[in-house]
């Protein structure tokens, strides 16, 4: 039973990863692409790793999978902040159809 749940979770995880990659290609600018890359790929990979842990049962393999899932949950959004801020600081512009940019005022100060 846990095997089946584990396989289903792995399939869901891989699907989220694929959708994240499609978003990465289709979205127009760096910031929107980061949205797809951080959200879908984080959840997809965490779900996949939890599926691996369920299939392997109580032991070394699932301990590693769970630790990796925790690290991804912490580091992936942190890396996204760094990339977004770095992109803005180095002059990457928002998509021309963006509606508002409050951050420009902060930079000018």
């Amino acid at each position: 039973m846990t095997d089946i749940i584990g396989y289903i979770m792995m399939v869901i995880g891989v699907m989220f990863d694929i959708f994240g990659c499609i978003g990465l290609v289709r979205f127009p600018d760096v910031y929107n692409r980061l949205q797809a890359a951080t959200k879908c790929v984080t959840l997809g990979t965490v779900v996949l790793l939890v599926g691996v842990a369920l299939i392997c049962g109580w032991g070394p393999m699932s301990a590693k999978a769970i630790i990796c899932a925790g690290f991804i949950l912490i580091t992936s959004p942190t890396a996204a902040h760094a990339i977004a801020k770095g992109a803005y600081a180095s002059g990457v512009e928002l998509w021309e159809k963006s509606v508002v940019d409050k951050y420009a005022e902060e930079i000018e100060k």
Partner: protein
Amino acid sequence: MRRLIYFVLAFLIWILLTWPSVDGKIDVQVVVAGLIASVIVSVLFHEILPKEHHIFISPVRIFWFLVYVPVFFYYVIKANLDVVYRALHPKMPIKPGIVKIKTNLKTASGITALANSITLTPGTLTVDLTDDGFLYVHWINVKSDDIEEATQFIGQRFEWFLKRIFE
């Protein structure tokens, strides 16, 4: 004392990560390398790690944390379905922009948790934060560029929990 706690934590993670999964034998070289690495990490980096230790031993805060985890995952899954919908829709219904929101959280770990929660949930990505408690957030579908209203939409639902966990 803090160095000791971080040393034990780092070493524990090392042991779990190098736990042999095939033959079950523990290699002395791996353990020694882990000891050295843990000492270096705990001596060099104990200052940049969180200073609010009391939050890890208070049962009330741990209770609120355990309540927060399922709520957080509910929003993460909702966020993912939202982004998947926008990525797959032929017309790509996005309306991006960077808005400013306000936070009342004061502690460093509280603000970090808020920023990371915002990044992982519905269509929002934290870009920067200022010293006086404002966050700049990239929003994939801007509903309001007013500070108060944007705070209502983005930050409020997490702040209520995070205040109980970290403050």
